[in-house]
Symmetry: C2
Subunit: 365 residues, 2 copies
């Protein structure tokens, strides 16, 4: 089976690039000696997880559907890194009774009390806000020791995510944000230790700060996910090479007219993510590559996206001499969003056209 045999639109994963990205992060982290807990929210695939995990080690997930899926595939050490609710706590307890070891997070006093009073509480981390202002207690929050106390024996440590690193634009800025992330969560851990708590887990991370951190003293694990695939947004902020994007959407030409080509990958297949709009280069709804994933058409992009139609505006310097039915690949703005529209990866190696594997994804909730 080759790329020409696939139904379009569909997701193509270049395993050679994926392996390179995995090795790159492993090298970046090796100098610190801090283990990676890969975030599987982007890949959502056991096959990808097996390439990332070398020997022992747990993962991070963003949904309980992922937690259940990975546990069923033998990965039991799982951190569910989205604030837990009472109903989801019961669901986690059931999965854990069934052999999983899913840890949860919260920043809410009521929820901490509910966890502490649960008959089978999972290991629970308190979320710390080190600058993103999305969730978590700031390190100096007076409630912090009380929250840990409410969790009781379930309290297992702290977690932070410097998601605001995505607004960074240089390696220096990323390194500064990484240090603030590290220093903030370590300060919170110290406060709790001074209050008599044991804080075994001090978990930080985002793909940009994992790579850019100069120092990880006091950190017990680091989380990163999107680095496995990369995307145009990550390329825009300088944390991923544009030629190192591992996942693309294969699309067929469905029409041609003066100055534009219509393809069968629209807003559903590409997502409506426009995160590159605010970046140094606006890639529309994605960068158009040739069937083998090569940058054969310059900076040509998908400029408009309807539900099932994508409009490629032709660059006069780069003709796309394709007929109806012939194929292009489209590199995504935000690979987490784009991949989630698809239920599987068609895997190729090293820019080849032969499909060497089909890997399912676990979508939904």
């Amino acid at each position: 089976m080759t790329l020409d045999d696939l139904p379009t639109p569909c997701l193509v994963l270049d395993r050679t690039i994926l392996r390179r990205n995995i090795a790159g992060m492993a090298t970046a982290l090796a100098r610190h000696g801090v283990p990676l807990r890969p975030h599987m929210k982007t890949a959502k695939s056991i096959d990808v997880a097996r390439l990332v995990l070398t020997g022992q080690g747990g993962i991070t997930v963003s949904t309980l559907a992922e937690a259940e899926y990975f546990a069923a595939h033998g990965i039991t050490d799982i951190l569910y890194a989205v604030g837990i609710t009472p109903a989801k706590l019961d669901q986690v307890a059931l999965l854990n009774a069934d052999g999983a070891d899913i840890a949860v997070i919260t920043d809410d006093p009521d929820m901490a009390g509910i966890i502490g009073a649960h008959p089978r509480p999972p290991r629970s981390l308190i979320e710390i806000d080190t600058g993103e202002a999305r969730a978590g207690l700031v390190p100096a929050d007076p409630m912090l020791p009380a929250l840990a106390a409410r969790l009781g024996p379930a309290f297992a440590g702290l977690l932070t995510h410097a998601g605001h690193s995505y607004a960074g634009r240089s390696a220096e800025e990323m390194a500064r944000i990484a240090e603030a992330e590290r220093a903030g969560i370590v300060a919170a851990a110290e406060r709790l230790r001074e209050a008599g708590h044991t804080v075994p887990i001090v978990s930080m991370g985002s793909s940009p700060t994992a790579r850019a951190a100069a120092d990880l003293a006091g950190i017990t694990e680091i989380r990163a996910g999107v680095y496995m695939f990369g995307d145009l947004f990550q390329a825009g902020i300088g944390t991923h090479g544009i030629d190192d994007i591992a996942v693309t959407v294969l699309a067929s030409v469905i029409g041609r007219r003066e100055g534009q080509i219509l393809v069968d990958a629209g807003g559903l297949a590409l997502s409506k993510d426009r995160s590159t709009e605010a970046g140094p280069r606006d890639w529309g709804f994605g960068l158009v590559l040739d069937r083998e994933g090569r940058r054969a058409y310059g900076d040509t992009t998908v400029r408009r996206a309807y539900q099932e139609h994508g409009v490629i505006l032709l660059d006069p310097a780069h003709a796309i001499p394709l007929r109806v039915g012939e194929r292009v690949r489209i590199a995504p703005n935000h690979t987490c969003m784009t991949a989630a529209a698809h239920d599987r990866y068609y895997v190729v190696d090293d820019g080849g056209a032969e499909v060497v594997a089909v890997w399912p994804r676990v979508n939904g909730w």
Copy 2:
């Protein structure tokens, strides 16, 4: 089962509102005596199709996955309204050999020749561009008769879609666009009839122009889909009532802090569609309703959307006194995009909290 028992995020469909929307379009079209060929690209559900179809009649679809699904559920008269490719033509021919009657569209001379030479060609329509400039031949295009000739006996008529009606902002403007859509495709049909072709199907439509058209003379069927559910974008352009949005996302509160609430519906559950940004009112990533779908929190919206986190910025005039685990509903910007992230509808009646049915959706390709 009630809304409190559902895993979040998930999709809630109010059947009472759906029925009202269906009846409203039926009334709007009844004065013309032109049959509706409902577009199932938004609902993607046989249960919804059964409410829309009264007795005989076919449907429109946007993917071959939908075509296959609806044919398997007994709806065989199907128009696949996205430009066909050679590979998809073979797939349609197989489905048609198996009992379906899927019609296809093209605007491409090569593709028309491929259809004409196919051993089992489906009924084929030529796409006409009546102003959207996305696909189709303009009515006066000199190639039009040649395209019909290439299709040979497969040629079954014309199709147009005034998608640019979504840029309209008043009933008068929609009516003008509807008349241009009608006049354009009818002119194309007349040209072909003068050239000796029979043109049995003259298919036009979009939700705005279907509702606003003053005259449908010469039109044999009209297509519309998003009107069944509606969304904030359609409300913004005046084609749907904001209280008539049938589909919402049920989300749980996962955190609270000064001035904001965090919910477990982010960019994946809501979609990253920001179509209301350019409209008269920017609804962020969706309008926040209470658990029963009532507008209890004024104009409060989801202002930021991460993969699994949605940030609701609180309006000081409208407190949201909910604890972690309690629920809200979120009306979407663009229901076609939002619904596609979910594999089923949890159906309620008339603003109730009891789940009266679970209806699956057919996503993907």
